[in-house]
């Protein structure tokens, strides 16, 4: 591949992987069984799409990925683009990117919850996953092995079938580096997200591995999803352990020396204070968003139950995956949410969908969400986000403001 005998796409891919691996201390490669590509066109831009198109124009044998390669959410739901006031140039870029990915044999799954809907990784399975929420869930909850693989690197892994062996592919990197005591186990998804955000800020960088002690019940997949997505977002963290719960940490000494000091004890008051720091800055809300990560079928059912008999007075966006959406349609959940004024979107994610341009086009400035990850991202896009429970978000959508 390095010599170019397998064509220029694979030659670029292996050169890229060698360069990344050298920087990060890899001695060799490890075969991976799947790749997952983050490739919304807001990130790619026209330069990135043109770069992809050059790859896609190569002969079929040279351009096709070698392992199952799937995609993260796209930058739009074409069926709702006009309602979101997305512009034709955005949709043109999306169509071009999709055509290029498909020419390379990539499956357009358009989801960040593939561990709930496509094919969960197995323990010790090496992957090249390209969404921080997917990586942290696969590493921590499933015991799989992946680093954060950005779009170019995930594509390179798809083309070569391997990735540089550094970071969380190595057992010694998976040991805990900080111990956190949790005084009260969260119940609401938002509280799990807030807990992840607080620990993410404490951890501080990619190479830290928090171990949590004191979690009182086994979290659900959705609770782990919100916790992990926020921890990865606020801390750039890719792996955590919950003692007695996650597969590599039956006991603390499975992942740490017994003398590891307690870095912090997180209380319910800490979680409330974290949420208030966002909510106190917002009174009226322009838009309510459920997204980041995409909603599971069970979250869709919870939301439909809460919306029954109510009417949203501001735009209420509900974002799920293309795998969940048909079930939500079939089971009547979509219709119940739409009857309350919600817009149910599929295959996109709010912050990956030209959030700044949507804000300007729709006059959205203040936003309510139950996703801690989304609150972390949207400040940079010009929004003032409030972090509320799912029920409080529904109230905010119906009243147009927070609180009674």
């Amino acid at each position: 591949m390095l010599a170019g005998a397998a064509g220029p796409a694979r030659q670029w891919a292996i050169e890229h992987q060698v360069q990344v691996g050298r920087y990060l201390g890899a001695n060799d490669f490890v075969p991976v069984s799947q790749a997952h590509i983050m490739a919304d066109t807001e990130s790619l831009g026209s330069a990135g799409v043109a770069w992809l198109e050059r790859m896609a124009a190569l002969p079929e044998r040279q351009r096709q990925v070698r392992i199952p390669t799937i995609t993260d959410p796209r930058g739009t739901d074409f069926a709702a683009a006009a309602k979101l006031k997305q512009l034709p140039w955005m949709l043109d870029l999306e169509r071009r990117a999709i055509a290029a990915f498909q020419a390379m044999g990539i499956l357009m799954t358009d989801t960040c919850i593939n561990y709930q809907t496509i094919m969960p990784a197995l323990r010790n399975e090496h992957m090249a996953y390209g969404d921080t929420g997917v990586v942290i869930y696969a590493n921590s909850v499933l015991g799989a092995r992946s680093n954060f693989e950005g779009g170019p690197s995930a594509l390179a892994a798809g083309l070569t079938g391997r990735t540089p062996r550094y970071g969380y592919h190595l057992p010694e990197r998976r040991r805990a580096t900080l111990l956190i005591d949790v005084a009260e186990t969260p119940n609401e998804l938002t509280d799990w997200g807030a807990l992840g955000a607080i620990i993410g800020r404490l951890a501080g960088d990619y190479w830290q591995v928090p171990a949590l002690r004191g979690i009182g019940h086994v979290p659900t997949s959705d609770e782990m999803k919100h916790f992990g997505a926020a921890l990865a977002s606020y801390g750039s963290v890719a792996l955590f352990h919950m003692i007695g719960i996650t597969p590599e940490a039956t006991r603390l000494d499975d992942v740490a020396v017994p003398t590891i000091p307690v870095r912090a004890t997180i209380t319910a008051a800490d979680i409330r204070a974290f949420q208030r720091a966002y909510a106190d800055k917002v009174d009226t809300v322009d838009v309510v968003v459920f997204s980041a990560p995409q909603l599971s079928l069970l979250e869709m059912r919870s939301l439909a139950n809460m919306l029954d008999g109510r009417t949203a007075s501001v735009p209420l966006l509900v974002v799920t995956s293309p795998q969940v959406k048909p079930d939500a349609d079939r089971l009547g959940l979509t219709a119940r949410m739409e009857a309350a004024g919600a817009t149910v979107l599929s295959g996109m994610c709010f912050y990956q969908s030209y959030a700044r341009e949507m804000a300007e086009a729709n006059g959205w400035r203040t936003l309510a969400t139950n996703s801690a990850k989304l609150t972390n991202i949207l400040g940079g896009y010009g929004y003032r986000p409030a972090l509320l429970s799912m029920a409080a978000c529904v109230d905010a959508a119906c009243r147009g403001r927070i609180g009674p």
């Binding site: 920087y23 831009g45 921080t132 690197s153 970071g167 990619y206 400040g379 940079g380 896009y381």
Partner: protein, 138 residues
């Protein structure tokens, strides 16, 4: 002239004015990439232009988008001259590799405390070991 050695580096040698803060870096979370400024209100460099500057920051943050975004920013000419970090994550390395962008990380000292904001600095990835030089204080 002060020199600081780094454990890892890539890209070409560059010389520019430093923009320094004890804060993180993510292209998606922190930047208005159209106007070339830091846009996250909580960021210590909020409102300041990063174009053509050598960013000296603490740690790589956020999600995977930066891997594409450095390439996209380069195509539009709204890119920093280089990125210098205490701690990288793989996304920054992958993005720098795609964009052929100059990056350096891993020092024996906190590099955000060692380099004055506004100083003229040189980042030399090809030196052995890779080296950041402060040419004139800001």
């Amino acid at each position: 002239m002060k020199e600081f050695h780094a454990r890892s580096a890539m890209g070409q040698r560059v010389r520019a004015q430093a923009l320094v803060a004890k804060d993180g870096f993510s292209a998606r979370y922190d930047l208005d990439r159209i106007n070339g400024t830091f846009s996250r209100p909580e960021h210590k460099l909020a409102g300041r232009s990063y174009v053509g500057r050598i960013l000296v920051l603490d740690a790589a943050k956020g999600g995977v988008a930066t891997a594409w975004m450095l390439h996209e920013m380069q195509a539009r000419g709204v890119l920093p001259a280089a990125l210098v970090l205490n701690t990288v994550n793989p996304i920054m390395v992958q993005g720098a590799a795609l964009a052929d962008f100059t990056m350096m990380s891993g020092f024996d000292t906190d590099i955000t405390q060692a380099v004055p904001d506004g100083a003229l600095v040189e980042v030399d990835p090809g030196a052995d070991p890779p080296c950041l030089r402060i040419l004139t204080a800001g």
